[in-house]
Symmetry: C2
DNA sequence: AAAAGTATGCACCTTTTGGTAAGTACCCAA
DNA sequence: TTGGGTACTTACCAAAAGGTGCATACTTTT
């Protein structure tokens, strides 16, 4: 940990490496849904990832593609038909996210209570 | 996935639950270092989490404590001596992060190349 | 008396991030 | 001719997030 493998970014540990690669509110969810349902169309992915805007989804898809985490296939049709899929690198990364999916599913009730308390706490501050 | 367990936040899936709980640039790293070295002092934690400011570290520690993810122990001494440790909930969450640590360590070289290309690409845009 | 150390607070600021709104291109259907 | 659908672009903007700089309290050390 006292030496970094690469000088480009100063990674502090393995977790730092991964987090920087998937930094972006929607990227982990994009990978998750591509793992579950991929390859899928742009529109289908947008519906799966609730709440994201076109502008940001496209932006983060471009970044993931540039980083060789996902693969984009344009069928050159009209209307446009484009598929997104995980690369081998992306697949291994998405699989590493699975324990977080499992953890969230198993602890959903407790986390919901935590968020309810957060809401109460924020309301208290607002007054 | 069409029904959410709780109405407080509209979770889309288990991963969404987890990501929202640890949303914050430094939180995953805080959990990671507490798992590796905990319980530890504030100063030691700050050194382990490279680059974070006091203001933000304290803020995110407060949030994690409020969410029952970590536990803070003030020994009421002068100079101040404060320990931070994982709660059982926090420990299980930190353990779910371990595959991401492993993935990052195993793919560090390739990710470093990705970041190098990003730098090249950004330089191109800057000119 | 001044400095050091530890953990933390706070006002203000900069940067980052995600979103809105309007637009594009082109074929097909109405 | 107009509207719909798909995937995507772009200018501008608001909110969120993280950081800076200075300060606090108190004991011990110099």
């Amino acid at each position: 940990m006292s030496e970094t493998v690469s000088s480009v970014p100063g990674f502090t540990c393995g977790l730092d490496v991964t987090l920087r690669l998937i930094a972006g509110k929607w990227k982990p969810l994009i990978l998750y849904f591509l793992l579950q349902q991929g390859p899928i169309r742009y529109g289908q992915l947008k519906r799966a990832v609730h709440g994201v805007s076109d502008k940001v989804l496209i932006q983060q898809l471009k970044e993931l593609e540039a980083d060789n985490v996902i693969k984009r296939t344009d069928y050159q049709e009209i209307p446009p038909r484009v598929d997104y899929a995980l690369t081998p690198l992306g697949r291994s990364l998405a699989e590493a996210l699975e324990p977080l999916c499992l953890w969230g599913s198993q602890n959903m009730a407790q986390v919901a209570r935590i968020f309810a308390e957060r809401a109460t706490w924020c309301e208290g501050k607002a007054s």
